[in-house]
């Protein structure tokens, strides 16, 4: 099994009074990846994530957790860098969060485990 490295982050996102948040995930450094998004205990997206909307049936989002996991496979022979950008919108401001980690060997996999906590 190609070695996996883990990057995890718990990130605050201010939603203000928003009742819907959008999520998009971009894999950088010319690598390939896929995500799995868990919202309120259920998987709501898998694979490519672009413009996903999550809500609380019209209720407040404060205190809710959005779990975004992305597996990135190193396919770029020129670098072991991986980078994933999570774009969240609909809250107080639209924000992009970019995280990076190097795989441990060519062809390795990086697992990004990001927990967005809405406040």
């Amino acid at each position: 099994m190609a070695n996996q490295v883990l990057f995890n982050k718990t990130q605050v996102y201010e939603v203000g009074g928003a009742t819907t948040v959008s999520v998009s995930v971009t894999i950088g450094d010319g690598q390939v990846g896929g995500s799995s998004v868990v919202w309120r205990g259920a998987t709501v997206a898998q694979g490519e994530v672009a413009g996903l909307h999550v809500d609380n049936s019209g209720g407040s989002l404060t205190g809710e957790l959005l779990l975004c996991t992305t597996a990135v496979r190193d396919i770029n022979p020129a670098t072991n860098h991986t980078a994933v950008t999570y774009e969240l919108g609909g809250g107080s401001t639209d924000q992009s969060f970019t995280y990076s980690i190097d795989v441990s060997e060519p062809g390795g996999t990086a697992i990004y485990a990001i927990t967005f906590v809405f406040i």
Partner: protein, 397 residues
Amino acid sequence: MSSISYRSGGGRASRWIVALVAAAALAGTASAQENSGGDVPAYNTIRTPASPAFVLLGLEPSSVERPNTPADLALTVLNSTAALTSLPKNFALEASPFWLVSHPEITWQSDAGVRDPLTSMARTTTVSVATAQIGTSALPVTGLSAGLRTSIFSGALSDSTRARLLAAEANLGGQSAIFNSFLATKRGPADSALQAAIRAAGGDQQKIAVAVAAHEAAIRSLGAAVLADPAYQAAIAHEQEKLGDLSVDREGFFLDLALASAWQYPNDQLDSGSILRWGVWLTPSWNHEHFSVTAVLRYTGDGVHGANDEMDLGARLLYSAASFAISGEYVNRSRPNASGAVARYRLAGIFDYEMKKGIWVSATFGRDYGAPSGGATLLARLGLSLNVSSSRSVGEP
């Protein structure tokens, strides 16, 4: 060993006829993977060398420094030169300047099409540096070479590669879901504690920051435990097996350029250094699926005896399948600065067969250049290549 002189015009015509017949008979097409630097060994590589500095110094280094970041590069240089006080000994380094830093904005989709020349050169340029002891124990001489390689044109992702990468996205989404499912069985208390702390914080940013840091540390520990879980590893191994080796192939028109120069320093004295040789390679090629056509213009300059400068002009046709490759090449070699020098040529057919994954048998037959004074030599080789490095076959970025 036959000795054939090709001084007459009639001889030149028959040489071209032989070349055309041989090329047609061999029916070579180039593998899309040849550009990928893949598993097919290259006993008679006609392509621009990946590391021209190594080639110019006649090196096949067993250990090559490949720094991944500017800090790595600086540290490597400082360590090998004793803080810039001496020439490095038996040192080999290769780096891609563009990729020393992360580029989060570059997705594989945005890089799938034909690149403009500037973008292509930026993303494919590598620099190589090497040193070696090329003298004797009585007269030590340090050789130092530096080279640069770039692709002015580097094709586009093949349709099959695009399809594989789209499938890989789905597969990796599945791998993410597996990680989530394993982590879900453990993370409940940490998540609950975070949510309770957020509610209790009442907007106090410092308390929120403390709660976030604690949650992050907890998930890091739980995540590491998941990665080490044999059940998780088995589940992931199954998915990775379905993913297979991701071979990223680019096809279309390529134009590769390489430059390199080597110097010699007797007794490690910088003041006594002189140029040893230099080289320029220009390789246009066209790749499509199993076929490729490659031409080469190669000039090697002798820094000591200009009459020994050599210019090669040639072409290669290659066809490759999953486990074999057939190619034919013709290269004309001349010495433009040597009066009375006879142009020589090499005409070879090469067959490579993968007996087992990573183990290639290569057979080469044809006519080699022969001595500069004239004549030709029979070329017949049978070789075994063991690919002990990563089995990944990937294309040039």
